[in-house]
C-alpha cells in the first residue's frame, strides 16, 4: 500500500507513537495532513470514451462496501445501553489537522451523534465526561434526554481546552457511574482522545483490569495516532479501536458506535425492567412540572407518583421510574428484525427487469449499454431473495439504512411457511400494538398466542 511508505512521523513524536499501520492497510485514504491540496475536481475523470462511468462505478463500489458491512443475522443485541463518552479537552485538541479544529469538529459531530444515538437507541442512556488539566469532570450524568446533553455541549465553559488529559481519572469516573447500572443494560465507554499522552495518578492497567472485570466495554477513537495504551484498553475490554484519518473517517468511526452491539454473554435469562407508560394530559390552567419547576400547560403524568413531566423518555424525577411510550419501544424493533441483504444482479440476468420496484426509476438496459461499461460497472440492480423484486442502489441503501422494511415482501400475500416472513408477520407483533377492536384482526396479540 502506498500509504505505508508515505506515512512519516514527526521526529518529536517518534518515541511515543507505536508505529503500527495495520489499521491503514486496507484503506486507500491518507491522513488529512498528507493531502497536498483538496482537488475534488480531479476525482471526476472521464474514461477514454468520454463517459463518467468510472466515477459512477467508484460511487457504487462505495455503496456496496457499506452494504457488505451490514449484519442481518437476527442475533441478540443489547437494546438498553448505557454509554459514557469521554472527551479529551486537553491542549492537544486545539490542533487544526482536522478542520476547523479537533475540538470544534468533535463537538459538532457529537451533537449529531447524540441525536442519532437516541433515534436508534430510544431507551438507552448517555453520559458525558471531559478530561483536562489532569482531572476528569462529568459534563452530564447518565440520562436518556438528548437535549440535556446537547445543551451541555454548547456551554462555553466545557469547550475550553488546556493542559494534559487524564485517561485514568476519566475512566474511573465513568466506571463509578456504570457499575450501578442494572445488569440488563450494556455498559460502554467511548473515549475520544486527541492527546498522545496521559497524566495518571496511578497504574492505568489496574483500571483497565477493573473495567474488564465489571464487563464494561471501552471503545477508543484516537485523533492523532495509535497509542499503545489506548489500543490495549480497547482490546482488553472487547471494544473497538480506530484512528481518525480525516474528517469523514472520524465521523464514520464515531457513528459506528450507534447500532446496538451484539451481546456475547450466554446468559439465556432475560430481565424484566419496570417501566411506566404515562398518558399525556392537557390542562386548562398551568401547573408546575417536576423536571424544571416551571409552569407549563400539559405534560406527561407519571403513573406511579402522579408527577408531571415535560417530555418522555425520561426517568421520573420524583420516583425514578423509567417513563417511555409504546412507539419508543417500537423504534428499537428494526434492530431485532433487520431486512435481509439484497443480492446483486449481474448484467447477464439484468434484461428481465426494467425499473426499480419501489421508486419506479428505470434501470440501464443491458442491450443499450456497451460491453466496456458493463465490464467496469455492475448492473445497478439488487434483488431481495425472498420476494425476488429488484431495487435500485438508492432504494437498497434506503431500505436497509432507514426504512427497515422490504416493500416487495410487504406487498405480497404472505406465505405461512417462511420463518423470515414471520418478521413482517405475527411473530414480531409486539404487545405494544394498541388493541384494535376489530372482528377481523381480533387484537394484536391473538396471533402470537393462538
Amino acid at each position: 500500500m502506498a500509504t505505508n511508505g508515505r506515512r512519516q512521523i514527526d521526529e518529536d513524536d517518534e518515541d511515543i507513537i507505536d508505529v503500527d499501520d495495520s489499521s491503514l492497510q486496507n484503506n486507500q485514504a491518507n491522513y488529512a495532513w498528507e493531502e497536498e491540496y483538496k482537488r475534488s475536481w480531479d476525482v471526476l475523470q472521464e474514461d477514454e470514451h468520454g463517459s463518467l462511468a468510472g466515477v459512477v462505478n467508484s460511487l457504487q463500489q462505495k455503496a456496496k462496501r457499506k452494504r457488505l458491512l451490514r449484519d442481518t443475522d437476527p442475533i441478540r443485541r443489547g437494546i438498553i445501553r448505557h454509554l459514557f463518552i469521554v472527551i479529551d479537552l486537553s491542549s492537544a485538541m486545539q490542533e487544526k489537522d482536522l478542520r476547523p479544529s479537533r475540538l470544534s469538529l468533535t463537538f459538532t459531530y457529537l451533537e449529531a451523534f447524540i441525536a442519532e444515538f437516541f433515534d436508534q437507541n430510544p431507551i438507552s442512556q448517555i453520559g458525558l465526561v471531559g478530561t483536562k488539566d489532569g482531572l476528569a469532570e462529568k459534563l452530564t450524568e447518565l440520562s436518556g434526554n438528548p437535549t440535556e446533553h446537547i445543551r451541555a455541549l454548547k456551554l462555553k465553559k466545557f469547550q475550553e481546552s488546556y493542559g494534559e488529559p487524564s485517561l485514568q481519572n476519566a475512566l474511573e469516573l465513568a466506571r463509578s457511574s456504570l457499575i450501578h447500572v442494572p445488569a440488563h443494560g450494556s455498559r460502554e465507554i467511548l473515549v475520544i482522545m486527541g492527546s498522545l499522552t496521559t497524566t495518571d495518578p496511578g497504574n492505568i492497567h489496574d483500571t483497565i483490569a477493573k473495567l474488564t472485570q465489571d464487563n464494561i466495554r471501552a471503545s477508543v477513537i484516537a485523533l492523532a495516532a495509535e497509542v499503545q495504551v489506548l489500543k490495549f484498553l480497547s482490546t482488553q475490554t472487547k471494544g473497538t479501536f480506530g484512528v481518525a484519518m480525516n474528517e469523514g473517517h472520524y465521523r464514520d468511526l464515531l457513528f459506528e458506535v450507534i447500532p446496538p452491539t451484539a451481546v456475547t454473554t450466554t446468559k439465556a435469562a432475560s430481565n424484566l425492567v419496570m417501566m411506566g407508560f404515562p398518558s399525556r394530559s392537557n390542562e386548562s390552567a398551568a401547573t408546575l412540572c417536576a423536571c424544571h419547576g416551571k409552569l407549563t400547560l400539559g405534560g406527561y403524568i407519571c403513573p406511579r407518583c402522579n408527577a408531571k413531566l415535560c417530555d418522555i423518555p425520561t426517568e421520573c424525577d420524583i420516583c425514578t421510574l423509567t417513563l417511555v411510550s409504546s412507539p419508543l419501544l417500537a423504534r428499537s424493533y428494526h434492530h431485532l428484525f433487520p431486512v435481509e441483504n439484497f443480492i446483486e444482479v449481474s448484467w447477464k440476468d439484468a434484461g428481465s427487469t426494467t425499473a426499480c420496484f419501489s421508486c419506479q426509476k428505470s434501470f440501464l438496459s443491458p442491450h443499450k449499454t456497451s460491453i466496456q461499461i458493463q465490464a467496469t460497472t455492475d448492473a445497478g440492480r439488487y434483488q431481495c431473495k425472498l420476494c425476488e423484486k429488484t431495487f435500485c442502489a438508492d432504494c437498497d441503501l434506503f431500505i436497509h439504512d432507514v426504512l427497515h422494511n422490504c416493500p416487495g415482501c410487504l406487498s405480497q400475500p404472505r406465505p405461512k411457511t417462511d420463518p423470515r416472513r414471520a418478521v413482517h408477520n405475527g411473530a414480531g407483533t409486539p404487545s405494544h400494538a394498541p388493541v384494535v377492536p376489530s372482528p377481523l384482526s381480533g387484537g394484536p396479540s391473538r396471533m402470537i398466542l393462538g
Binding site: 411506566g276 407508560f277 409504546s326 423504534r331 431485532l336 427497515h404 416493500p407 404487545s431 376489530s438
Partner: protein
C-alpha cells in the same frame, strides 16, 4: 431539512385503499367508483395548484400494493402516446393521471385474486404502500438536489388496522418522521385506524375520520389540499387524544406500569405471570433465537 417556503413545489403521494371487501360491503356508505370521482377531482386540484406540483398514486389492495401513477417504465414519458387525444375538453395532465388511476384500479379489481390466507382477508397493504411511497419520495428528493420539493403522504383508508402490519408501519412512521414527511390520514368510514392515527401524530400530519363519507371531496379540498407551507397559517383539525400506552402481552389490557423484557421488549402487567415469563419470546422461532442466542442463521 430547510424551512419550507412558498415557492416550493409539492410532491403528494396518495395511498388509496382499494380493499374490495370494505368498499363493496353491504353496509358501506360510499361506492369505490363514487369515491374515486372525489379523489380524482382532488388530484386534479393538487396538480392545478402549481405548474410543478407532482403526484404519485399507490393502490393498497388486498394482498398486493402497486403504483397506479406513475406507472412502471412510464416515468420518462408521462404522456405516452396511446393515452393522448381522448378528450379535448380535459386538460392533458389531468387526463393522463385520471386514466392511469382508473385503469390501474380496474385492473387490480379484475385480476384473479391471489391465494389469500385468512388473515390477509379484509386488511389492505397499507404498510407496503407507505414503504413504496417513502422509497419514491427518497428517490425524488435525491434527484431534486436543490431541496425545493416538499413531499407529503396522504392515506385514504377504509380498512381496519391489520395487527400484523404494526412493525412495518412503525418503521415507515419513523423514517417519515426523520425525513420530515407528514403523513395525512383520512379514514373515510369505520372505526379509528389506531396505527395510522399514531402515524399522523408522530409525523405531524392530519388525521380525520369522516362523519359523512359523501362529503369526502369537501374534506379533501379544505383539509388536505393545503401544502406544508400554507399549513403554518391555517387552523387545521388536530387530534385531541392519541393513546400511546402499551397493551399487556398476555391479558391484552392497557397498562400504565408494566414490565418490559430487556431482550424482546414485550410488555407484561406483572412479573408473576408465569405464562408470560415462559412464553413471551418463544412462540416465534426468530425471537427464540434472540433469547437463547444460539446460531443466528435461520435458513
Amino acid at each position: 431539512m430547510k424551512d419550507s417556503s412558498a415557492n416550493d413545489s409539492n410532491l403528494l403521494v396518495i395511498v388509496i385503499d382499494t380493499n374490495p371487501f370494505e368498499w363493496e360491503h353491504a353496509s358501506s356508505p360510499l361506492r369505490l367508483n363514487d369515491a374515486l370521482q372525489h379523489i380524482l377531482a382532488f388530484m386534479n386540484a393538487h396538480l392545478a395548484g402549481r405548474h410543478d406540483n407532482k403526484l404519485a398514486v399507490i393502490a393498497s389492495h388486498v394482498g398486493v400494493s402497486s403504483f397506479l401513477y406513475p406507472k412502471l417504465n412510464e416515468v420518462d414519458q408521462p404522456g405516452s402516446k396511446q393515452q393522448t387525444r381522448k378528450n379535448a375538453n380535459v386538460y392533458q395532465n389531468f387526463q393522463v393521471v385520471n386514466d392511469a388511476v382508473l385503469t390501474g384500479i380496474a385492473k387490480l379489481l379484475q385480476d384473479p385474486r391471489p391465494t389469500l390466507e385468512e388473515k390477509d382477508l379484509g386488511s389492505s397493504k397499507i404498510a407496503a404502500s407507505l414503504s413504496l411511497g417513502l422509497c419514491y419520495i427518497n428517490q425524488a428528493l435525491k434527484s431534486d438536489g436543490m431541496g425545493h420539493i416538499k413531499p407529503r403522504i396522504l392515506v385514504l383508508t377504509v380498512s381496519p388496522d391489520s395487527s400484523s402490519d404494526y412493525i412495518p408501519i412503525m418503521n415507515c412512521i419513523f423514517s417519515a418522521q426523520k425525513a420530515n414527511i407528514p403523513i395525512d390520514v383520512c379514514k373515510i368510514w369505520g372505526e379509528d385506524a389506531v396505527f395510522l392515527q399514531q402515524a399522523a401524530h408522530i409525523t405531524e400530519g392530519i388525521y380525520i375520520r369522516l362523519d359523512d363519507p359523501h362529503g369526502l371531496l369537501q374534506i379533501l379540498m379544505f383539509s388536505f389540499l393545503p401544502d406544508v407551507f400554507s399549513r403554518n397559517y391555517l387552523c387545521l383539525p388536530g387530534q385531541d387524544q392519541v393513546d400511546f400506552r402499551a397493551a399487556c402481552f398476555c391479558h391484552k389490557k392497557i397498562v400504565d406500569i408494566g414490565y418490559v423484557c430487556s431482550v424482546c421488549l414485550s410488555t407484561s402487567i406483572a412479573t408473576s405471570s408465569k405464562t408470560w415469563r415462559q412464553g413471551h419470546c418463544s412462540e416465534s422461532k426468530l425471537i427464540k433465537t434472540q433469547h437463547s442466542n444460539t446460531n443466528g442463521n435461520m435458513n
